[in-house]
Amino acid sequence: MKRGDFLTHVGWTGAGIAYALTARGIVRAADDAPDGPFFVQISDSHIGFHQPANPDVASTLEATIARINALPRAPDFVIHTGDVTHLSKPEQFDTAKHILGTLKAPLITIPGEHDVLGGAAAFAAAFPPKAGNSGWFSWEAAGVHYVALVNVFDFEKMGELGNEQLSWLENDLRGLPSTRPVVVFAHVPLYALYAKWGWTTEDGAKALALLSRFDAVTVLNGHIHQVIEHQEGNIRFATANATAYPQPVPGTAAAPGPVTLQHDALLRAVGYRTVELYGGAATVRNVTLG
């Protein structure tokens, strides 16, 4: 077994404290291992939503950010995986920018379908793309290859990456050693999590085929407002809780959409996640406000 497999095997506990079997024996990663790359994911803030499922989405986002800013270890960055706003309105982007601007860590933002109603211009103006003009980009940090994809630009197919983005991804990954840890972000899940509710990316399999040669790939998405984990080969998937409100577990309701809970139950359903990487294996910790 390759070393990466050992770490992968024990790393995906979501338990907060990771025990890793290494050449030195069993170590408690949090105490004994050098700090790995560490970041935070937030998602689905839906600023502008004013319904019973969460009458004050700004305050749950603010509370989430307060928790992130108070983390004992500062994250390398915070990524928002889309649906920052509810209806792509200028005042919603203004409010979102103001609140997200209180994060101490660098912010990366990718759009959800609620952010590009009527076109992507308002989102791009509020959160200028990090590289290029297409919206998708990649970067390397601390030995990890990060890729931010956009699968909400084609309204008739949700999600959809499109051939231009897939070609870009193929070029982006070409030449990387298969041992390089890869972390991929996109709003809509890249696999068919629940296609009946549109919780899939129609051409996601093409992206996953390009990623399949790597030893350790972590794909982090939003869109479905709940944590669901999944694995295909060396690719591990995890969707994130929203900061706004939960949606039903797939198949348990007639339709997706906001689920109204008592306030304390709502706080147990929204929040953020931390991700720490050891040798490519992601230790994911989902933290809620309640």
């Binding site: 502008g48 004013h50 319904q51 019973p52 499922a53 509810h86 209806l87 792509s88 309105k89 379908e113 609620h114 109603l117 009527g118 309204f155 008739e156 197919k157 949700m158 009946k196 509710w197 549109g198 007639a254 339709a255 997706p256 959409g257 906001p258 109204t260």
Partner: protein, 109 residues
């Protein structure tokens, strides 16, 4: 063309319309258009009302009309001046589909 005919033509052109002129209503509820299929005479104004907590849109497949984001309780109306079949979907949830069949005024369905 005299002023009366010009005004009549403009009034009956396809386009966004006042919800108070609507003669038919389609409700958006539980992530579906109801009724999903509707027949109206040419010139009719159809009102779309979002009854869901989630936002939706009414977007023509050929992009000839688009409500943009409809928040909970919001209504949007469109006048269908010409006969034909108008297929539409929700741009936030594209598996939500509907169609308006516009027939000659006075004809049988």
């Amino acid at each position: 063309m005299n002023a009366f005919l010009l005004a009549l033509t403009l009034a009956l052109a396809s386009g966004e319309a006042s919800t108070s002129d609507a003669t038919a209503t389609i409700h958006i509820k539980n992530f579906a258009f109801a009724p999903a299929s509707l027949t109206v005479p040419a010139g009719a104004v159809v009102r779309f009302v979002n009854d869901d907590q989630e936002a939706h849109t009414v977007t023509a497949e050929d992009r000839s009309f688009d409500s943009s984001g409809l928040d909970t309780g919001n209504a949007w109306a469109y006048r269908f001046a010409k006969t034909g079949r108008y297929a539409y979907f929700c741009a936030l949830h594209p598996y939500m589909k509907g169609a308006i069949l516009v027939v000659t005024a006075g004809s049988k369905k």
